[in-house]
Symmetry: none
Subunit: 254 residues, 2 copies
Amino acid sequence: MREDGTVTGIPVRDRLVDAALELFDERGYEQTTADDIADRAGVGRTTLFRHYRSKEDVIFPDHDRLLAAVKDRLATSSADTAIVAVTEAVRLVLLRYVEEDGRARRRYALTSRISTLRDREIASVARYQRLFREFIAEWMGPAPGAALRAELMAAAVVSAHNHVLRRWLRRDTTEPAAELDAAMAQVVALFAGPEPAAGAAGPDGGNGVGNGLGNGVGNGSGGNGNGGTAVIVLHDQRDPEYVAAAIRRALQEA
Amino acid sequence: MREDGTVTGIPVRDRLVDAALELFDERGYEQTTADDIADRAGVGRTTLFRHYRSKEDVIFPDHDRLLAAVKDRLATSSADTAIVAVTEAVRLVLLRYVEEDGRARRRYALTSRISTLRDREIASVARYQRLFREFIAEWMGPAPGAALRAELMAAAVVSAHNHVLRRWLRRDTTEPAAELDAAMAQVVALFAGPEPAAGAAGPDGGNGVGNGLGNGVGNGSGGNGNGGTAVIVLHDQRDPEYVAAAIRRALQEA
DNA sequence: AAGCCGAGCGGTACTGAGTACCATTGTGAC
DNA sequence: GTCACAATGGTACTCAGTACCGCTCGGCTT
């Protein structure tokens, strides 16, 4: 037992988060002062602001670190693995939320009610979107219309992520990772289709899986070791179910 | 001449905006207090907060009113004019900015530098996006996958708007309205194409390519008619080249 | 053992945003 | 004239966030 009555060995940072979430639930966000949180956590107000930049910060995860991780993942990619990099990077973000589980859901309950917090969350999301936009734009090159296309694609990627994340937060799904794959597939399909008339700037680049029907197949591989991810885009006139079945069979046999 | 020395008949609200923009330019946003702004405008601090909810609010336009206008425009539309409604609604927003001209550009200069203000702007944009999302979702109905599709489309619409707006703010274009039309056309083209293959949206329901190694395979495809596109995301530990070869073979045989 | 040192913490005091309340003034209606 | 009302100004308060100082504790050297 410590002098101040606290019994736990729980780190100060975590005690603060717990205290904040409890108090926000009990009396609401606005009605909870920084002093309240610090008191409940058994520390001084100064200590709170030493660990978190602001009152809001307490309940938001380390976006900085995750943002850096995403940036890293995007950076380690060659031109023909760009789509894979994006897919895995966005997956990274989703999984981080899923890991948090309870805490993520409590935060969601708060951001749904308190506009201040919702705005804060939105601002965070925008930073991810910016990262994706810059990456995709660079990948696409300076072709005319590429800037807009990159922006649209980044927005789509982030939206797909948010859509799935919210479904998981609301318990509408228990397999967020799989749904993210599906959603991302839809995003890629959206952009893999008709190019914007002029500059082709597309993902086709000779590595197409020449099946004689489709044209482009961006195939990346997570490459180095763990959990390879492959994204395959193909244009095929035949029944997609039929094609999917064929691929399924091929993978089982392989 | 008035008692307080002010010579103008300019409304208080406008004087405050001018004062704020001047001061933010002169000493920066953080270094300008609410008192400074009020003093410069020749009014009391109380009056400032009577006209604007916060210090930030002073330089942001009436998003509430514009938001309402957008909502109205969307509301007055039948099912088959939905796309027109969206296009005109987003045009409404762009034109409002263009009307502001100088003030919009000064605000842009500020939001580019000050993260607090940028976040605020982003939060505003998100409200428009939400409006569009809700409208589009209702328009699309409860079809499976429609929710995601609506979210993607709303994000695309807003991104297209922002893209053109920023180009205009940076003086990269002198015909924002025309560019917006072009951008919106691109957005519509994007979504007019391949529908997301009937039930295939989710990886559940049996269409998951259960190869026993990867877990999720999302398949979005264009079933109906025009050049079907299929996108496959798979997680597979094996050599990607090997997997690709297997798929290639399967497609040729199929 | 005594001294030293750095990290983590608590307390106090300050600035500034935003709110509540009250007093004042100007303006038009009657 | 005065009554009503709207707009303003001033004062005082709460609270977030910052700056600064002093304390304590554990580990380390000598």
